[in-house]
């Protein structure tokens, strides 16, 4: 792994932020290390998923990321083959990145506000999989539908 050496204060990159006026909070940018730290963590989590099938997640909202960091992270991970939307209590988008096993997940509330943003490291995000209880309930619903259909058919035949 490349060694970063900082021997003088002037070696530390500092970016001067434009004047901040009142309004929405601005997290000081220039934390450039943030993106590579996330990527490094993803490597560890992917290895753990491959070896021990242990899924994991990174809560992006808990990290101090500037908008530039976010763009840089999105670019680094790229877009994969799967893009899914879940319509439950507002829209959620679940997209696999170019890196297999890394999913970029955005949860929005019914008003469209972003309420959670995560990177999940898993084969399939939990929210996409059908739950066993719901599957059993689905079978029951279909059974009822078949009965209803059969009844309708019988009655229409006898009518005809």
């Amino acid at each position: 792994m490349a060694q970063l050496t900082v021997s003088r204060l002037s070696d530390i990159a500092i970016r001067v932020e434009p004047k901040i006026l009142g309004g929405p909070p601005v997290i000081a940018g220039g934390l450039g290390g943030g993106v590579s730290a996330i990527l490094t963590e993803l490597v560890t989590l992917l290895e753990r998923l491959a070896d021990a099938q242990t899924p994991a997640a990174i809560d992006l909202r808990s990290l101090p990321m500037s908008p530039e960091d976010r763009v840089a992270l999105k670019r680094a991970l790229g877009e994969g083959e799967v893009q899914a939307t879940v319509n439950a209590q507002g829209l959620s988008t679940i997209c696999e990145t170019r890196i297999s096993g890394v999913w970029w997940i955005e949860h929005r509330d019914p008003q469209g506000e972003l309420v959670a943003e995560l990177l999940e490291v898993t084969r399939v995000p939990e929210i996409l999989a059908s739950a066993p209880d719901d599957i059993a309930a689905g079978a029951q619903t279909l059974r009822e539908q078949i009965t209803t259909l059969a009844a309708t058919r019988t009655s229409s035949r006898s009518n005809g």
């Binding site: 901040i20 006026l21 309004g23 994991a56 808990s62 439950a88 949860h107 506000e113 959670a116």
Partner: protein, 371 residues
């Protein structure tokens, strides 16, 4: 107040309201993110809560203004926050419940009896002990007696608002009703203080959610407040902090500095000594918080906030002479170093408030033992 729904699990209750399992997983993920829990806790919480019976909650209101309950119910994310009420069984709340009179009191006794040792007791308001407890009576019983009885079977007590947590405004000098916080009356139960006047709705619901999910009291600070929400000062997370560090202060509410959004320290902002989540979670669905609207923090989530001098004097002034004297401006002109001194003195002020709090607890112990 939840007649007919007692036996439902959280999942069944949610389905009844058209919330699917995926909706619930999403809700728990968002909640875990807001609570600063590890993100994998979201789906785990959803799994655990889905099949669990809803925990019983008894909400007692004493010497209070109902502002805390207003905060809780005026939450801006109804689909999210109302879910909380589907996830708990709110068995008694004299403001929200439909029942009144004897029926209400019976509901409370029944909930406490049926769930003895398991229910969460939420207390809103301080407890007046003067005049034999006569300043706050409901159903012919004093707040002190009601609290003592309700505390016996509680798994934990959540004090919502600065009044129940630290005495709040009723406790302020000269405290005519002999008001005390819950910690001064109940000594043998886990107590979680969710202070604020009022607290942020998401902090109330988040604390309740965390307790009912994990069954454990979260990590608390020295004032028994959950560290996830009260771990940082307003100042630590304030977006105007860079101006403080640069020594750029508004000197009045309509000057150039105020218009430029500079630091409000000299206008009395109590952000440096106030632990709360306003600067991060914000208010009204994350719209804004007092400092973002141009007014300093009043320090409402700290013990004794009402007795710490003027809201409009810089923190450093409180320690020197009368509040409102012009010393802080002069000191602050020296620059950031002086501002740091101001912050340190503010901490000292918080320390003396704690001392006072401690003293008051001892005094009450003595009083209650004597009585």
């Amino acid at each position: 107040m939840t007649q007919g729904n007692e036996a439902l699990t959280v999942g069944e209750m949610l389905l009844k309201h058209g919330i699917s399992r995926r909706g619930f997983i999403k809700y728990c993920t968002v909640a875990a993110s807001g609570l600063a829990l590890p993100p994998w806790m979201g789906p785990a919480m959803a799994e655990q809560l889905h099949n669990a019976p809803r925990p019983s909650v008894v909400y007692l209101s004493f010497q209070e203004c109902t502002g805390c309950l207003e905060s809780l119910t005026r939450s801006f994310a109804p689909t999210i926050e109302n879910l909380i009420f589907n996830m708990i069984s709110l068995d008694y709340n004299d403001t929200l419940m439909a029942a009144a009179g004897d029926a209400a009191e019976t509901a409370r006794s029944k909930a406490m009896q049926d769930n003895f040792g398991k229910y969460v007791l939420v207390v809103d308001g301080s407890v007046p002990t003067g005049a034999g407890g006569g300043y706050c009576m409901a159903g012919g019983r004093s707040a002190v007696d009601t609290l003592r009885e309700a505390a016996k079977g509680a798994a934990a007590i959540v004090c919502v608002g600065t009044c129940s947590a630290f005495g709040g405004i009723p406790f302020a000098d000269p405290n005519p009703t002999g008001a005390w916080p819950v910690t001064a009356i109940v000594g043998d139960k886990p107590i979680i203080n969710v202070s604020g006047c009022p607290p942020i709705p998401e902090v109330i619901t988040g604390t309740l959610l965390q307790f009912v999910t994990t069954g454990q009291v979260p990590d608390l600070d020295e004032h028994r407040r959950p560290k996830v929400f009260f771990g940082n000062t307003i100042h630590d997370r304030c977006y105007r902090r860079p101006f403080y560090d640069q020594g750029k202060f508004a000197k009045s509410f309509d000057d150039e500095g105020a218009r430029n959004g500079w630091c409000l320290y000299e206008l009395g902002c109590k952000g440096p000594t106030t632990y709360n989540a306003c600067a991060t979670l914000k208010w009204n669905g994350g719209t804004s918080f007092p400092i973002e609207s141009g007014h300093g923090c009043l320090g409402c989530s700290e013990p004794g906030f009402w007795d710490k001098g003027s809201f409009y004097s810089a923190l450093s002034s409180g320690m020197w002479g009368k509040a409102g004297e012009s010393t802080p401006l002069r000191v602050l002109e020296v620059g950031a170093g002086a501002a740091a001194v101001g912050a340190a003195l503010g901490l000292a002020a918080a320390g003396s408030a704690r001392l006072r709090q401690h003293r008051s607890e001892q005094q009450t112990d003595h009083e209650t033992k004597g009585g």
